[in-house]
Structures are given as structure tokens and as C-alpha cells.
Point group: C2
Chain length 231, copies 2
């Protein structure tokens, strides 16, 4: 008989979605936290939040690594500072410039490899499908296909599953879940542009503020501009 | 009407399998060549071969990038020099120590992201299923599942396919195909251990020598030891 919880790899960017996903995972598993620097503008700030969140949850197994190719191939305003980042609400008719090509497949490939080495049976990732920017690699159908690839492409007997516990939640539901689980929102960072004080204008700040506003809860982090929901 | 061939991303390690895969791809497509340093012992030698093969095929689009996580998480003798590499014929009953956890998923994630940015509709990869070391991420079922994930996880309308033209070939058939297509075997490198003169003893040298031996063709590269097929 085993003592203690099984290990689960949790991909944690340092944003509110991944922090709540970690809070959910930590209820039933011992989290092994993964952060990836793929050249995003706010990578250093994310890593700082990642460290504080990991300390908060007393996480021993941490992997902070990088995926240099996404910076090299360009193709996203989240990485390439010569492309402007969209402001405000997502445009449902198009994929925003912040979409990073097939990023979640790269992140999951690292997570699955690490899970195979440390013997973790689950990967948690905080993707959100509907109430989001509409990235194609945040759809549940993608995660189902990737889970199958992971089962087939690793050592026989591995039953690694991909868990996306907040994928169908609204942003307000994610905030409410985080509050219920005492997730440390004060340690998280969602802004795509700034690393000191969140801009309050980019699509990610918009979605975060919308979530807190609709949940009727005050966002504990400071903003340069409080956005449309606080005017 | 388009002038010229469509572009296809080809993952090229510098070994005989990927060189023949490139030769096949180059018949119908303009190759965009991808090499990945994931911390393998012979990465520098591979990269040297990659450059020579790219020059041979006059390839303009080249991406040489790295995946640092596979070195960080360990778990493979191909990367971790403290683990011994198996000699001789593959043991069909077990996955060898040279298996790199979910490596092909990471390589394909890079390939698909690059394909999306440069507008390539196909990825070629030189995996071999049966006449090989038995790595789980070299099975056709894995590639089929990954192709589905790639279609679902990239911009709508993308029809990126994963092509594995030599996956069901025997090693001798790969050699014969390469000879027919005038693939530059003299520029390739398969040895897992050495970077100057191939050892002739590791599993990869074994499989390569078996292929040339069964095809009745002389391998143009020098070996420290010619192996069981030449004694």
C-alpha cells in the first residue's frame, strides 16, 4: 500500500488559470511544477510568480526549462515585440496575434517526458476553451488527441492522462473556484505586456478583470488602468 | 497556379534514416530542414552532418534549435553518460536505455509550429517501426494520433500531415531506397557513442551495418570495428 498522494505534473505559467489548476491538483496529488520560458515578453515575471506559488504550496519537484524554438521561428506577438498585442475583448472571429504556434503541444511534450521519468500518472494544464482568446491548442478535442498520442508514444503500460479541470469554466467560475480553494491570486501574473504593474488593457488583463468583476471579487494585484469593468 | 514545389519540414538528425527520408521528401517538395540538439552525446557531430546534407540538397530553409529539458530530466543513456549504451542487436523484449522520453513528440511539436509559421503542409520524419530499437514514439499509431493533435491544435484550416515514408521498411530497404535516390550516405552519422570514427558496436551501428550488409552494399563511412556482419 502506498503512503501519501500520487505525483502529478502541473504546468504553471504563473497566471490565474494555472494557479487555480494547481490548487485543484494539489487537493488530490503531490504537484510537480513545470514552468517554460519560450521567449514570452513576461517570462522573468512569470518565473518569479512560479517560484512564489511553488513556495506557497511547498512544492519540492520543480522544473523550469526553456523552448528556444518559439522565439526563433517567430509568429506571435507574445514573443515578437515588433507585433502589437491586441487590447480589450477577444475577437471571436479570429485567432489573436498572441497565439503561439502549437505551444501547448510543446509544453505537454515536456510535461509527458518529465512525468515518464518521475513516474507521474497525470498532467494538469490550465487551458480555458470558451471564455478565452480562442487559441486552437486550448480546445478539449486537442487535449484528447494529445492524450492518445502520449499513451501510444511512451513506455508500454504508461497511462498518463491530461487533466484540464477548468477548460469549460467561465473566468468568473475560475475566480470562484480559486477563492474556495484559497489559491494565492496575489502571487499570480496575467498581463501579456508589463512586468511591474499590469497594464489593464491587453486581452489577458481584460479576461482576468472580467472574471473578477463577474465573480464580484476584488483582484488583489495592482493595475496601471483598471479596465472597462471598473470604470 | 503555383510555381515550384510546396514546402515540407523534414526532421533530419544526420543519420541514414533521416537522410533517406529527406531524399524521398525532396523528390516532391522543397525541404525545410530541422535539426534538434536535445543533449544527445553526438549532437555536434549530427549538426555537422546536418549542415553537409543541407548543402548537398541545396536547402535554404534550415532551423537548428535545442530542447534543453531532455538533458535536465535525464532518463536516457543517449544523453546521460553515466548510463551505459547497449551493444549489438536490439532486445525485442525491452525498451533500450537509449530511449529518450517522448522525444519524437517534442521534435514534432517544433516541426508543426515551424510548419505553421512558414506555411508548410507536411512534416517528414524518418522513424522506423519494426527493424529498429522498438522505441514507443516510433510506432505508426503514435504518429497517427499526433497528426490528429496537430490538425486540431493549430490554426483552423491547417491540414498539416505527418509523413513517415520509411516506417515499415527494413533497414536493407532503406539502404536500397537511398542508393536509388542517390542519398549521400557518406555524409551521414548513426553512431550513438563516437563522433570521430563510428564505434561499430552500439545498437545504432549494429542496425546500420545490418542494413548495408543485407542490401549487399558497402557502407561508405569508416568504423573502429566493422561489427558482426563483416567478420
Amino acid at each position: 500500500m502506498k503512503n501519501g498522494k500520487d505525483t502529478a505534473v502541473v504546468a504553471v505559467s504563473g497566471g490565474m488559470d494555472s494557479c487555480v489548476t494547481l490548487a485543484i491538483a494539489a487537493e488530490s496529488f503531490t504537484p510537480a511544477m513545470l514552468h517554460i520560458d519560450y521567449g514570452q515578453r513576461t517570462a522573468q515575471k512569470e518565473l518569479e510568480c512560479f517560484g512564489k506559488i511553488a513556495d506557497f504550496y511547498n512544492v519540492k519537484l520543480r522544473l523550469s526549462t526553456s523552448l528556444p524554438h518559439l522565439k526563433e521561428i517567430k509568429g506571435s506577438s507574445l514573443i515578437d515585440t515588433s507585433i502589437e498585442i491586441e487590447r480589450g475583448a477577444p475577437d471571436k472571429m479570429r485567432i489573436p496575434s498572441t497565439y503561439v504556434p502549437f505551444r501547448n503541444a510543446s509544453i505537454l511534450s515536456v510535461a509527458v517526458a518529465w512525468a515518464e521519468v518521475i513516474g507521474a500518472a497525470k498532467i494538469f494544464i490550465g487551458a480555458v476553451e470558451e471564455d478565452s482568446s480562442g487559441y486552437p491548442d486550448c480546445k478539449s478535442a486537442f487535449f484528447e488527441a494529445f492524450e492518445k498520442a502520449a499513451r501510444l508514444g511512451t513506455r508500454p503500460g504508461n497511462q498518463i492522462t491530461i487533466e484540464t479541470p477548468i477548460i469549460h469554466m467561465k473566468k468568473s467560475g475560475i475566480v470562484e473556484t480559486g477563492i474556495r480553494l484559497k489559491a494565492p491570486f496575489q502571487l499570480t501574473w496575467s498581463c501579456y505586456i508589463e512586468s511591474e504593474t499590469a497594464c489593464g488593457e491587453c486581452e489577458s488583463c481584460y479576461l482576468r478583470q472580467k472574471g473578477f468583476h463577474e465573480a464580484g471579487i476584488e483582484d488583489p494585484i495592482p493595475y496601471k488602468r483598471r479596465g472597462v469593468f471598473n470604470e
